[in-house]
């Protein structure tokens, strides 16, 4: 019994040092040497200020920007999460109807435009969702719609080898490119 207690106690301490401190700290050192950008959170900077992470969705509300998917956490990157509303939820139906009323679109509204993402921080929208917003963004910026549509096409990522991943548009990258677009 006593030898059992000693074995348990000593192994717990040694493993805590090895797996709880040495392993994560060594990984931190290796990661920051080999992949400094990713290890730091894939941050995007503009003139020295951090404007966000390429991986983390942000709220965009004005007409001149592409909008992300609805977020149950209000795009709070300190409190991720989905709505957790079930498929027959009244609150879900009310929310979807609200989004449909607020964003009248001549095109059919794709599902991702009115449903909350799992993380509340989904950085992407579907290409159909982006195209449905082109007219609004182009009008707000006084740009020809075909130029905005071309920009969306440039920022649409496809499947790797035609197999891996889903067609998607990173909203922050697209909006950043939009701001850098010359006016005429």
């Amino acid at each position: 019994m006593l030898s059992c207690l000693r074995a348990a106690g000593v192994l717990l301490v040694l493993f805590t040092l090895l797996l709880g401190l040495a392993y994560p700290l060594a990984m931190t050192g290796l990661a920051s040497a080999a992949f400094p950008r990713q290890a730091g959170g894939s941050l995007l900077t503009d003139n020295g200020t951090v404007i966000g992470s390429a991986l983390i969705g942000q709220a965009f509300a004005s007409d001149g920007y592409f909008h992300p998917r609805p977020s149950a956490s209000g795009h709070d990157a300190m409190a991720s999460g989905g709505s957790n509303l079930g498929p027959l939820s009244k609150r879900l139906m009310e929310r979807v109807s609200g989004h449909l009323a607020a964003q009248p679109s001549p095109l059919a509204v794709p599902a991702d435009a009115v449903t909350a993402s799992a993380s509340g921080l989904d950085p992407d929208i579907s290409p159909a969702n982006a195209l449905a917003q082109v007219a609004r963004v182009a009008a707000a910026r006084n740009l020809p719609a075909d130029r905005v549509a071309a920009l969306v096409a440039d920022h649409t990522a496809g499947r790797l080898f035609g197999l891996i991943g889903e067609p998607r548009v990173n909203v922050l990258a697209l909006n950043l490119a939009l701001d850098k677009m010359p006016a005429n």
């Binding site: 709880g20 300190m78 989905g82 509303l85 979807v96 197999l163 889903e166």
Partner: protein, 569 residues
């Protein structure tokens, strides 16, 4: 559903299959005490650990000694983790200046990580300091998984050996599982995850100013190192609240494939290890086939159910060509979300890249059933294998009853004591799950935690206790489980699901090890055939599944029917 989607599922499972044989054989060598290619680096560390802890690696234990060592180690792990969480405010590496964790939550969390469940009543980014995540939670991610592997190896030796009283040494098996299997795999997977975009930093958060001039504070931390073992050890406890749906835990389609691979690989390789150690690799493939059949069926059903979309939302005028997107991420799509849902619950992992609460009724039924089948498809690291062995024992018993012969498995006669222990083990899950769910369903203190009304609310309760007792850890996460009632009862369910299950299994192993191992005769049922795999699948479905059917009828099944009448709650 699309062809590309099916191809994505097939390719991911193919990558797992490619790794199963080499890893399974490597583990067999390791647990047979042979030298592996990692010994030159790691055996000095291993021997140092034994010397410091006063362990004689040659000294073997009976089933009782082995189980006691496991219980003492787990109890001590619980106390130390509870202390770390309570004292978090006074400990280092706490850049967010987070206070100590409340007693009921610390109890629940310590039990949860210790039992390899990783149910989380809290949200990681605002509750746990870096010290708690690293020195507390990450350590137990490794050790609970290593403990599971050790127990599985003890049960394996019960069949491999003939007429002996001992099953190996718990300290040695656990140490080897952590050092030679989980740690090297974690290092490789963690670095690959960083390359795909998972952060690994000691800073806490960074402030960003968005293009619209708003402020966004982005939580960061040593995510990749925890993420790697969270998947490899089938733990599933996320660094962030949104778990593997969070773009920092799972940034891309590639990281998603790696996450699924890492979740599956050890549990899928262990049947091969079992086969090698009992002298019939074919037996290992037979077990893995039974697991794979049910797992792939589960994934296909989720994919079909979710790709249909939600007819109620379609009726509002939304184009649901993308499927049911509530609670899903664009970058994963329906196919790889569905595969993740099935794998994380067929395994007792519990990581989620999709919010299970928002799945369509049948899509949500599948993960619940996969947990209730006993977490053997292919189950948690180690726990899946010994669970499957229990089902094998029951399957040969059922076959023996049908043809009127003494059942035997791998040359060991299965007699009254083994069957009693096996049945005792498989009765734990329905007892705990249905018992607690029934009480919670009439208790106002429990019902006030529900996020959804109607049958879906009942599903939230049923899922929570299934997940806890099955040591899974995923949730219909709308349920507010951070209350004294849920923290306490779910904690008890986790303890029973782990320890009340494994003790009879170890007793069964002890009595099997003592029996002589006979030669298979023309009268014994061959256990490596398609016939046996079919029998095994049948026993799992009937014994594991049927007892939950009435409860499922009140939850997801009636919800599916109501969905077609456009009812809302």
């Amino acid at each position: 559903m699309s062809f590309v989607g099916w191809l994505q599922i097939a390719a991911t499972l193919g990558l797992v299959l490619a790794a199963v044989r080499p890893l399974g054989r490597f583990m067999a060598k390791l647990f047979l005490g042979q030298r592996t290619f990692l010994h030159p680096v790691l055996s000095p560390v291993e021997r140092g650990f034994y010397r410091a802890a006063g362990i004689d690696p040659e000294q073997e234990q009976t089933w009782f000694g082995y189980a006691m060592a496991m219980l003492i180690f787990s109890a001590m792990g619980f106390l130390s983790l509870y202390a770390i969480l309570r004292l978090q405010g006074f400990l280092p590496l706490n850049p967010g200046a987070l206070p100590g964790v409340a007693p009921d939550l610390a109890f629940n969390t310590a039990i949860s990580f210790l039992t390899n469940t990783n149910w989380q009543s809290y949200s990681g980014e605002t509750t746990m300091s870096h010290f708690s995540q690293m020195a507390g939670l990450t350590v137990h991610n490794f050790l609970s998984a290593a403990t599971g592997i050790a127990l599985a190896m003890a049960v394996t030796r019960a069949f491999a050996r003939s007429g002996v009283a001992t099953l190996g040494n718990f300290w040695v098996d656990m140490t080897r599982a952590a050092l030679y299997v989980l740690l090297p795999l974690s290092v490789v997977v963690a670095l690959a995850l960083v390359a795909f975009g998972v952060p690994q930093t000691l800073s806490n958060a960074v402030d960003a100013t968005t293009l619209e001039g708003a402020r966004q504070t982005i939580a960061l931390g040593p995510v990749a190192s925890q993420e790697a073992i969270k998947q490899l050890g089938t733990n599933g406890g996320g660094f962030f609240n949104a778990n593997s749906a969070h773009p920092f835990e799972n940034p891309s389609a590639l990281s998603n494939i790696l996450a699924i691979w890492a979740m599956l690989v050890v549990s899928a390789a262990l049947p091969i290890t079992f086969g090698r150690m009992v002298g019939s690799e074919r037996q290992g493939w037979a077990l893995l086939s039974a697991m794979a059949i049910l797992l792939i069926l589960g994934a296909a059903l989720v994919y079909w159910a979710e790709a249909r979309g939600n007819p109620l939302i379609t009726a509002l005028g939304v184009d649901t060509g993308l499927g049911n997107m509530e609670g899903k991420e664009v970058r994963f799509g329906q196919a790889m979300s569905a595969l993740f849902v099935a794998v994380t619950t067929g395994l007792s992992c519990g990581a989620v890249n999709t919010m299970h609460d928002s799945l369509t009724p049948l899509g949500g039924l599948v993960p619940m059933v996969l947990i209730q089948l006993g977490e053997v498809l292919p189950g948690g690291t180690g726990s899946g294998l010994y669970g499957m062995v229990v089902f094998c024992v029951l399957a040969v018993f059922v076959a023996g009853l049908m043809v009127g012969r003494t059942p035997e498995f791998l040359g060991k006669k299965i007699e009254a004591r083994e069957i009693r222990m096996a049945v005792l083990a498989v009765l734990i899950l329905p007892l705990v799950i249905l018992g607690f769910t029934a009480v919670a369903a009439v208790l106002p203190a429990a019902l006030s935690s529900l996020n959804n009304a109607g049958p879906h609310g009942f599903s939230e309760l049923l899922y929570a206790y299934s997940s806890a007792a099955g040591n899974n850890g995923s949730a219909f996460a709308g349920l507010n489980a951070n209350t004294p009632w849920f923290n306490t009862t779910l904690g008890i369910a986790m303890v029973l699901g782990r320890f009340a299950y494994v003790l009879p299994v170890m007793a069964m192993a002890g009595s099997l090890a003592a029996k002589p191992r006979g030669q298979a005769s023309s009268g014994s049922l061959p256990t490596t055939t398609f016939l046996f795999v079919g029998l095994l699948v049948g026993v799992i479905l009937i014994l594991g599944g049927l007892q939950f059917f009435p409860a499922l009828a009140l939850g997801p099944i009636v919800e599916e029917v109501l969905m077609h009448t456009s009812a809302t709650f």
